[in-house]
C-alpha cells in the first residue's frame, strides 16, 4: 500500500534501496519521504504510542519525518526524510528497529 501518488516526472532513472530489509525501487531525485511513501504507508512509528506517522509539513519544520538510515555497512544515522535525497543501496527503517546492514545489491 502506498500513501503518495505519482502524478508526474515518472520517467526518471530508478534508484534501489532497502525498506525494513526488503528491496524496493524509487526514482532518482526522490526524497527519502517520497521513496518510502510511494511503496509503504508510514515513515515511522511514534516513540510514545507507536502510532504511524508519515510526515506532515514536507518543508523541514514539523520534524515528524526523522527516520533511521544506514549507508552500506556504516553506522545508523537519523535523517529528516522530507529533506534528504535517496541514494542507491540505502537501508531505511520505518520503525524503532535499526535498519539492517544490507550487503547485496538492492535491485
Amino acid at each position: 500500500m502506498s500513501l503518495l501518488v505519482r502524478y508526474a516526472e515518472q520517467s526518471r532513472p530508478p534508484v534501489h534501496f532497502f525498506l525494513d530489509g526488503q528491496p524496493q525501487t524509487a526514482l532518482s531525485g526522490d526524497t527519502l519521504l517520497t521513496a518510502i511513501l510511494t511503496c509503504a504507508n508510514r515513515l515511522r512509528q511514534t516513540e510514545f504510542t507507536g502510532e504511524n506517522r508519515a510526515g506532515f509539513c514536507l518543508m523541514g519544520a514539523c520534524q515528524d519525518c526523522w527516520i533511521q538510515v544506514r549507508r552500506g555497512t556504516g553506522p545508523v544515522e537519523r535523517l529528516r526524510a522530507c529533506s534528504t535525497l535517496l541514494e542507491e543501496g540505502m537501508s531505511l527503517s520505518t520503525s524503532a528497529t535499526v535498519p539492517p546492514v544490507m550487503t547485496g545489491a538492492a535491485s
Binding site: 503518495l4 502524478y7 516526472e9 526518471r12 531525485g29 510514545f48 514539523c62 520534524q63 515528524d64
Partner: protein
C-alpha cells in the same frame, strides 16, 4: 566595536526565498558582498521551491501564473556569483552575541558547526502553515497545505488519489486547483471562513487586483470543474480503519453533519511566521491582533529593535511572495542607508508605496480568512495537540486545573506541549488558543514559546569547525 570594525563584516542574510534573494541581489548591486545562508540546496524558498536535479518540468508547469517570478528568483543570484556567497544546505541553529551558528556537512558527511559573526543581518526565514488540529490530524495521509503543494511541485507526487483541502486561506483554492490539474480527484474544498467575510474584505483585497483576480480564477475554475466548494464549515474529525484516512467529517454552514470520503487531506489556516531566529537575535516582539501571533517589531523598512538586524518577507508577518520580494529589497536598502551608503530615493518611495498596498491586501486576507472563532471550544480531551510529544487537549486541561498556567512556557514546562522536536511550530498556535480559552484570557496575554537552540534538531555528532580565517566558514 569601532566604526571600522563594524563595516568589516559581510552582511548576512538568512533564507533564500523571494525576500532573501532580493535582499542579497540588492546588496550585491550596491557593491557589498553578502553571505546568503539557506537550508535548501537551491534558491527559491518554499513558494518557489525548486525540485531536485533530474526532475525536468519547466517552471510553467510548477508555478503556473508565477513561473516568470519563480524563474527570476532562481536565476537572480547567478550574475553576482563572485559577490554573493550562497551557503546551501546550511542550518542556522543559533544566534548569540552577534554571530550565527551554522551547521552543514563536510564532504565525508560529518556535521560541522561554524560561527559566522555579523553586524548587519537580514532575517528572511519565511513561514509554515498555521495549523489548528482536529481529531485524526496526526494520521498518515494528513499533510499541511504547504506540504501537499511541495509534494506536487518538488516531487511530482500527490498526497492521495481523492483529496480534501480543508481549513481556510487563499492557499486552499490554489492547491486544490493545482491538484485537480495534476489529475487528482479533489473531493471537496472546505473553508471554515464564511463566504460573507470575503465580501467584507473586498475593498482591501482590491489593493492588489492581480492577486485577487488570480484567486477568483482558481475558485471559478474549481466550480466549473464540479469541485465541491463549501465555506463557513466546521471541521469535525478525520476517520478511517486502523489509523488511516478514509473520511473527513464536517458540519456545513447550515449546521448539517456531512462526511466526505477521501484518502488524503491538506490542512491549513493561512501561514505562520518563522520567528525563532529574530527572537534569539534579541528582537523585541509585539502581539499582532490581526495575525493573532507575536511578531518581531519592525518599521516599514524591516528594521527591528536591534540595530543592524532586519526582518523581511513572511518571516516578519504574512504578506505573500510578491510582498516578500519588495520587503527583501527594502530591508537591503535600509541596511545600505544605515551604513551611510547611497540609495535611490525614488526606489525607496516606490517600494514603500508597494509595501503599503501589500499590507492593506494582507490585512484584508485575514478578514476574508480568519482563524475560526470558537475553534477551541469543543475539542475532545482525547485529541492530540502536540504531535511531537503526543500530548492531548485533556492533559492541557488537567494542567490548567492543577497549576493555572497563564502563559505558554509554563504550560510547556508542566505538560510538555511544544517541548518536542519541532519546538511548537505545529502546535504552538493551537496551544495558545486552547490555553487562552481554558483560562479565559485573551491570546495576546498567553505569551509565546521561548525558542531554544538548536532551533531545529542538531546531530549530536556535530563538531566545531576547525578555526581558520575570520569570515570563511
Amino acid at each position: 566595536m569601532t566604526a571600522a570594525a563594524t563595516t568589516s563584516l559581510r552582511p548576512v542574510i538568512v533564507g533564500a526565498g523571494p525576500a532573501g534573494v532580493r535582499a542579497a541581489v540588492t546588496l550585491a548591486a550596491a557593491g557589498l558582498n553578502p553571505v546568503l545562508v539557506d537550508e535548501a540546496a537551491r534558491p527559491g524558498g518554499q513558494i518557489y521551491r525548486q525540485p531536485p536535479a533530474g526532475l525536468t518540468r519547466p517552471p510553467e508547469a510548477l508555478y503556473g501564473f508565477e513561473a516568470a517570478k519563480a524563474r527570476a528568483i532562481h536565476t537572480a543570484l547567478a550574475p553576482y556569483a563572485g559577490q554573493i556567497d550562497h551557503y546551501t544546505e546550511t542550518l542556522v541553529w543559533n544566534i548569540e552575541h552577534g554571530a550565527l551558528d551554522l551547521m552543514n556537512r563536510d564532504a565525508s558527511g560529518q556535521p560541522v558547526s561554524t560561527v559566522l559573526p555579523y553586524d548587519s543581518l537580514i532575517l528572511a526565514t519565511g513561514a509554515t502553515d498555521r495549523i489548528l488540529p482536529l481529531p485524526g490530524w496526526t494520521r498518515p495521509g494528513v499533510y499541511t497545505l504547504g506540504g501537499a503543494q511541495i509534494a506536487l511541485k518538488a516531487q511530482g507526487c500527490g498526497i492521495g488519489k481523492r483529496v480534501v483541502f480543508a481549513g481556510t486561506g487563499p492557499l486552499l483554492y490554489l492547491i486544490a486547483y493545482q491538484y485537480a490539474k495534476a489529475g487528482a480527484t479533489v473531493a471537496a474544498v472546505l473553508d471554515t471562513a464564511p463566504f460573507v467575510n470575503r465580501i467584507h474584505a473586498l475593498p482591501g483585497l482590491l489593493a492588489c487586483p492581480d492577486t485577487l483576480l488570480k484567486g477568483l480564477y482558481y475558485t471559478a475554475w474549481l466550480s466549473l470543474h464540479d469541485v465541491p466548494l463549501h465555506s463557513g464549515v466546521t471541521l469535525r474529525e478525520i476517520s478511517g480503519p486502523d489509523g488511516t484516512v478514509a473520511a473527513l467529517h464536517w458540519r456545513d454552514a447550515k449546521g448539517r453533519d456531512r462526511e466526505t470520503a477521501c484518502d488524503g487531506i491538506g490542512l491549513g489556516y493561512g501561514l505562520r511566521s518563522e520567528t525563532q531566529l529574530a527572537d534569539l537575535a534579541g528582537c523585541r516582539f509585539a502581539f499582532n491582533d490581526l495575525h493573532r501571533v507575536w511578531l518581531p517589531e519592525r518599521d516599514d523598512a524591516g528594521r527591528t529593535s536591534v540595530a543592524g538586524v532586519y526582518v523581511a518577507g513572511d518571516g516578519a508577518g504574512i504578506a505573500g511572495a510578491d510582498a516578500a520580494e519588495a520587503a527583501g529589497e527594502r530591508a537591503a536598502l535600509a541596511l545600505l542607508q544605515d551604513r551611510g551608503l547611497p540609495v535611490d530615493p525614488t526606489r525607496v518611495t516606490a517600494l514603500d508605496r508597494r509595501l503599503a498596498r501589500f499590507r492593506r491586501f494582507s490585512s484584508a486576507l485575514w478578514t476574508a480568512f480568519p482563524v475560526p472563532a470558537g475553534w477551541a471550544h469543543d475539542l475532545p480531551d482525547s485529541m492530540t495537540l502536540c504531535r511531537c510529544e503526543e500530548i492531548t487537549v485533556g492533559t492541557l486541561r488537567q494542567t490548567v486545573r492543577t497549576d493555572t498556567p497563564t502563559e505558554l512556557n509554563r504550560l510547556k514546562a508542566l505538560s510538555r506541549i511544544g517541548m518536542g522536536r519541532c519546538q511548537g511550530r505545529m502546535c504552538g498556535v493551537a496551544a495558545a488558543e486552547v490555553l487562552a480559552h481554558e483560562t479565559g484570557r485573551p491570546v495576546s496575554a498567553i505569551a509565546r514559546l521561548r525558542p531554544q537552540p538548536p532551533i531545529k534538531p542538531l546531530p549530536a555528532a556535530t563538531l566545531p569547525a576547525p578555526v581558520s580565517g575570520e569570515d570563511t566558514p
